[in-house]
Amino acid sequence: MKEIVVISGKGGTGKTSVTASFAYLGGENVVVADCDVDAADMHLLVKPDFAKSESFFSGVAAQINPYKCNNCGICANVCRFDAIPVIDDQYTVSTLDCEGCGYCAKVCPERAIEMIDQNVGNWFVSNTRLNNTMVHAKLGIGAENSGKLVAKVKNEAKRIANENNKDFIIIDGSPGVGCPVVSSLSGAHFAVLVTEPSVSGIHDLKRVHELVKKFNIKAGCIINKADINKDVTNEILGFLKSESIEYIASLPYDENFTKAMTEGKTIVEFDNGELKESIIKSWEKVKKLSAVS
């Protein structure tokens, strides 16, 4: 079983469209893990059935028991996040502002403050219309993606893949360069970097590749909208060469990307031309590259 992670650093590069196409091409041999929890859009293309749903708890927030509280205000005084305002003559925790440091609970003379596990969302195991199993999650407002949630989604995907002898796990990776993307990458056999030839695209590609390198993961790159700026595309190609990143494909600026999405289809189901061919070839290449790493 091989774990393939698709990441991009920057939003809007077509990462999710590419990932969903791979899921289509891989079919029942694939378990999909959507770890881009902040902007989880893949479900719009693959139509999961939410067969199994569980609550997800992450982090803690303070809660004041008003019956034990003597309103001394020590808690509000030590709180650096202004998270304990007085509401109706009672010190009350504003959960949205609480960082969960627990300082207030430690200094409360009445032991009136408890740190409560926070239910921040749900995670799901689904069957998709593409015959994949998919593990995904939805977070509530103000809740942040975390290494923990990504690990949870990936572990579940891995367990299912192992139990059913699946060949691949395809991970729609988290954005940025923080803890969630570290967790997305950890344990992967191959990373597909999706980028676009813009000043911000190449900037973010370099940043995210730093991480991939640190984890000794073999990587390949797909340049989307490659024809929009030939100069930057050449600059990207030079970067790939100097860093020994496999060049997988260049995709054209093609409105079928959006048209497919609008119809709730993957690109390979919608397009019948060059774009489809390029993505099929990309998937074949990714399979081959991940097999030897």
Partner: protein, 283 residues
Amino acid sequence: MKIAIASGKGGTGKTTLSTNLAAFLSETEKVVLADLDVEEPNSGLFIHGNLIFEEEKYKMIPEWKEDSCTFCGECQKNCNFHAVIQLGSQILVFPELCHSCFACSELCPVNALPMIPKRMGQLKHFALNNFDFIESRLDIGQEQAVPLIAQTIDFIENNFTDQTIKIFDSPPGTSCPVIEATKDADFILLITEPTPFGLHDLSLAVETMQELKKPFAVIINRYGIGNDDVIDYCQKNGIPIVAKIPNLRKIAELYSKGDLIYNDVPEFKEELIKIRDFIKNEI
């Protein structure tokens, strides 16, 4: 007046709109643009002004004083973020994991962990003709955007008058950084694309704004692709649509080069005029 420009996810044209709107409004008004996407500030790639001021920004972290430490282990126990780790007779502090809650420091029985300022990033102030641009950038490896966003907003409050139009290019998403960047704004402009992804991410952003009880309106980018679902959604929920920026290859090309767009694309400028009128009349 403070206007935040936000979107549920990245890549919808937030930076393109912020930079062009700021430049356009500055032809008639006094404007300051702040890039609050401090993890990936990209506005600066499109704006070229003179650097007139820069300063380092700090957050408070504990510093271990070996001489006074008794290795009691309290600090490690009191840190909920694994930012303070004891290895035998060594205490290690991880600034990136620290939330500056002060618990380890103030609860240390022998004051062996005083809080000291530690650099987390940098703020830069660029001046253009009638237009100021503030960019804050988190250092690589720093994980907490919120303190830097808060300090950047403070900087703007302290250095610009109420008559200045303040435009905040907010970070993407629906989590703490975007809440920090929008919670003090007078009005939020949400930018989205007329696609299923765009609609889904817009609905998350709308939920967030409703939770914050903020007035907001929508701007559609790349209008002409996709379908009418975003428009239907806005109508059904009584959300004003201020402008529809057309989908033109020319815009994508100018963007990829890091150029401003409105002077070369009249269709784009027309939409900016609508946004300006909306700001003048409605906000």
